[in-house]
């Protein structure tokens, strides 16, 4: 049926002005390049699997993160309640940024504020640094003023963008939360507010129960009570949300959620994503993103797509 395979396709692509060698990024918080460089050394540097590196989310203040246990294995997935441990803006800029700057790809810094002022502080502080190519706004946290999760609501998102957009000309990527009734509406608000791209999905709110029968009834396994679900189990939900967002905005979309292989990545492109990100699968295989890229290239060859940039966004 299939004729002779064409040469390896050209995977180069762009995202909100960044030129990328291929479309596979990492999901924020699922790959600590600093720790990974300590563990894998030059092997990682030479085969760095992501075309841009997204940092773990940082906040204004230093955070210890949630009490353990922080992990629970779910059917074809993982629940985590890490709680955004990080050194805070100043600590990040001083200690982490110089090391991350040595990673051989563009750096995207993920930031989360517990209110619009905090977001503004973070955007100003991070965008000023030349090592930073773009920022990702993680809007899955509650706004301590309104009480509601900023990314749940189009209006909150619009107000946030209004506040931070003027602060930098660097690309702003809004990381949408999948727990919103109307994720497409939030994406439209982000677009109107001047976002350069959106990424999704973040983790689905989830819970695990302590398996010990003796434990008090209803006691949660996770130290923080609830957590977020990721991995293959959420992929079908992610594909739907990516499709919704890609249908309702013209923004480039970084699609993620349970991507394990090239086929999964292709499904996200088919659903309307421009780039994809690998998260939980990197835990199973630190080089998973490399395999995803290679398999994607093979599938594009089979579909006779010579250049990823030509892959049509039909939604």
């Amino acid at each position: 049926m299939a004729g002779a395979l064409t040469a390896a396709p050209d995977l180069a692509t762009g995202l909100a002005g960044l030129e990328l060698r291929h479309p596979v990024l990492n999901g924020s918080g699922t790959f600590d390049a600093i720790a990974a460089l300590r563990t894998f050394g030059d092997g990682l540097r030479e085969r760095f699997p992501f075309s841009a590196f997204v940092s773990k989310t940082i906040t204004v203040e230093r955070r210890d993160g949630n009490p353990p246990p922080r992990l629970w294995e779910a059917p074809a997935g993982l629940i985590n309640s890490i709680g955004l441990p990080n050194k805070g803006l100043d600590g990040f800029l001083e200690h982490d940024l110089p090391v991350l700057a040595t990673v051989p790809v563009p750096l995207i810094v993920s930031v989360a504020g517990f209110g619009h002022d905090e977001f503004a502080t973070l955007v100003e502080g991070v965008a000023a640094r030349t090592e930073v190519a773009a920022l990702e706004l993680n809007v899955s946290c509650p706004n301590v003023k309104s009480g509601c999760v900023m990314g749940d609501d189009p209006h909150e998102t619009a107000t946030l963008m209004h506040r931070v957009r003027p602060l930098t000309s660097k690309p702003l990527i809004v990381k949408l939360t999948p727990n919103a009734s109307d994720v497409g509406g939030v994406a439209v608000a982000a677009e109107h507010g001047g976002a350069d791209a959106v990424s999704l999905i973040n983790t689905l709110r989830a819970r695990a129960i302590d398996p010990a029968l003796e434990s008090a009834s209803g006691s949660a396994w996770l130290g923080a009570g609830s957590g977020g679900l990721s991995g293959p189990g959420v992929r079908a939900v992610a594909l739907e949300q990516v499709h919704q967002v890609a249908s309702r905005t013209t923004l480039p979309v970084v699609g993620m959620g349970g991507i394990r292989c090239g086929r999964d990545a292709l499904d996200f492109l088919a659903a309307g994503a421009t780039c994809v990100a690998v998260g939980t699968e990197s835990f199973r295989d630190p080089a998973a993103a490399e395999r995803v890229r290679e398999e994607l290239a093979q599938l594009l060859s089979k579909s006779r797509v010579a250049r990823l940039a030509d892959y049509p966004r039909v939604v």
């Binding site: 563990t39 894998f40 092997g43």
Partner: protein
Amino acid sequence: MTAPFGRRLCEVTANQAAGPYRLVEVADRSGPPPLAGQFYMLAAARGWGGADGRPHLARAFSVCRVRGERLGFLVDAIGPGTERLAALDQGEGMWLVGPLGIGFSPPAREARPVLVAGGVGLAPLVILAESLRDAGRDPLVLAGFRDSGYAEAAGLLPAPPVLATDDGSAGHHGLVTELLVDELDQTPSAVVYACGPPAMLESVRALCAERTVAAELALEEAMACGFGACFGCVVLTRDGYRRICVDGPVVAASDLEESWLER
């Protein structure tokens, strides 16, 4: 030495009983030799995942012994992941990432190494005992088990340990930490290396703290990644939460918060 980047497929070369545990051996052609106390993330190449979608992630295992390129892991089958690994046949494939984490530090020149094992916590102390012996620093090994059946696993050690069993069916009838108390009282120059259930490690920590004896504990926490990526495997130390996959699994007992075990 750093670990090769990415997971690699290795062949299972043997799977034999060690008491009620399984010693599963794989041929690792490309990794550097591990240090005592380091660990690997393991997954079966086939049959990973089941009717309820678990095991999904790889599982952490201390390396138990090394014979050339053959790495041995001591597996206690307590859940879906360990059951699948314990059932691997010779010739089957196993995914492996590692060696990972920080191993035990060598004992100070004048110190007497005392190794304290509880159950399958024996694993990293086998390779430690071997390397101490190779360095001419024969350790004293105290090993606690549920009963004499479990205690058969102690046959993996280069020399017979002092045993304790919960039911008295082999060695001391009681806790291995009771043996440790006696030993510490006799040997003030001891340096302790321990691995076992959390309650045992806490006892070791407290006993050594009281006596200002240096101790290194090989800790366990559920791990999703094993290389610092997920921030899931933390333990409370005096400096705050520490990821034991990259800043462990071996930690100085004195680094732990006294409340490290409280949930």
